[in-house]
Amino acid sequence: MGKRVKLEFTEIIDLSHTLIHEQEGRRFQVKPFLVDFTPRLSDVKASPNVRPMTLEEADRDSTPYGYYVLLHELAFNTNAGTHIEVPRHCFKDRFDLSEFPLENLVGEAVILDLRGCEPQTEVSIDYLHKAEQRSGGIRSGDIVFCMFGHDRFYKTDSYKKCPYFALDAIHWLIQRGIKVLGVDTPEIDAPNAIRPVNHFPLFQANIPLIENLKNLTQIGVSRVYVFILPVKVKFLDAFPVRVIALK
């Protein structure tokens, strides 16, 4: 008999926001439709009927669908909600979602506690360095999550007024050999930046960026094991993603 692999964690923490139909600021639509197989009861070659419906119509009561199945079409901006951006976001010839190596999306994450940052202020190298010392250190190959506690403002007017990074602070993180950068804010660039200058060096170093993380404050320790598993969509540069921490 095969040896049973033991899952060595006691808690799963979801670090992603829920996506809701037409409530994401950016385009996000969920369109249900029923596929009705009743015509096939009398003729196996008959095509099923397809009926679009509203979310309210599709919503719950206690009856099973029977010969029907429920499907959806989704239409959304790929930067909606908790999402990952890979190098193709800023460089046409670099990794898209289907090419980005899986090994770089799974592993140990260190949480940098930056909750002392004021809104719309710049995070300096010095500030990051102090947070690193409190966290026990960034190791080469770490996923780095910057915890501002800013997710509490999600979907409010204050959410856009987030702290941001000095360009040399981004370079400092890259030099530490991090493999992913994640933030619980919507942006890493200064509000008046005419170009996403902080994005470019990350993607040049093949470091993906996760924006709009949630619940980093629930983790309670400075190191966790993280799974970031985006759908492999050919040609795409970004996608909403479920980010999971195992403790």
Binding site: L19, Y65, L74, F91, K92, F200, K232, V233
Partner: protein
């Protein structure tokens, strides 16, 4: 914390646009951001994309709300039920439209050891090779019999997956196998790939689809972790 001395092996197939399965995947690249209009040096640009897709495109996970009203969507479905110990039943070389009997299923299990309560069970039919080669061949996949599905449900497996597009008898108007699994809150993964890469009798699966309110199925990255020798 998880031990890191493990190797990532399994991984799903990329989702293409347009999707060869006739399940919609359309990508639109937008110069939405005003920063796009500012000249950018060194080949840098800033892409904003939109996508329209069917929730059953590519490798996808179906949960009870797909066939049963009033059941959990992806916000409510517990993450614990989307990861866990994996057993892969290797059943390659079956003829097209072959019905996998209870006996076939038990034999495949004997090769890898007993299935335990809470196991995730994937059937490796070797059909993912046909995914791009021929839609006709791909759609003529083997499928489990009702008895085989009932047996797996009674064993209280946690999740079921196949490297094929369907788990039903062809032209069956009633999704009997789906209903048996979904009634018991056992999610179904269709269109898996690369299951031959799982060499050990036991491994682990992690599959965390994005949390969309009202979604009854979602394309997902399904990964397998196997211990290194």
């Amino acid at each position: 914390m998880l031990e890191v001395k493990k190797l990532l092996v399994g991984d799903t197939r990329p989702l293409f646009a347009p999707n060869p399965e006739d399940r919609k995947v359309h990508i639109f690249e937008h110069p939405i951001d005003q920063r796009d209009t500012v000249p950018v040096p060194d080949g840098q640009y800033f892409l904003m994309s939109e996508i329209e897709l069917n929730t059953h495109a590519g490798t996808h996970i179906e949960i009870p709300y797909h066939c049963l009203k009033g059941r959990q969507d992806f916000i409510e479905f517990p993450l614990e039920r989307l990861c866990g110990p994996l057993v892969v039943l290797h059943m390659r070389g079956l003829s097209p439209h072959y019905e996998v009997s209870l006996e076939d299923m038990k034999k495949a299990c004997d090769l890898v050891g007993r299935i335990q309560k809470g196991d995730i069970v994937f059937c490796d039919f070797g059909y993912d090779a046909f995914f791009f080669e021929s839609p006709e061949k791909y759609m003529a996949n083997p499928y489990p019999s009702l008895e085989a599905v009932r047996w797996l449900v009674e064993l209280e497996i946690k999740m079921f997956g196949v490297d094929a597009g369907m788990i039903e008898r062809p032209k069956n108007p009633i999704h009997e196998n789906h209903l048996l699994f979904l009634e018991k809150d056992i999610p179904i993964i269709e269109n898996l790939a690369n299951l031959d890469q799982v060499k050990k009798n036991r491994a682990e699966v992690y599959a965390f689809p994005i949390a969309i309110k009202f979604a009854e199925s979602m394309p997902a990255r399904v990964v397998v972790i196997e211990e290194v020798d």
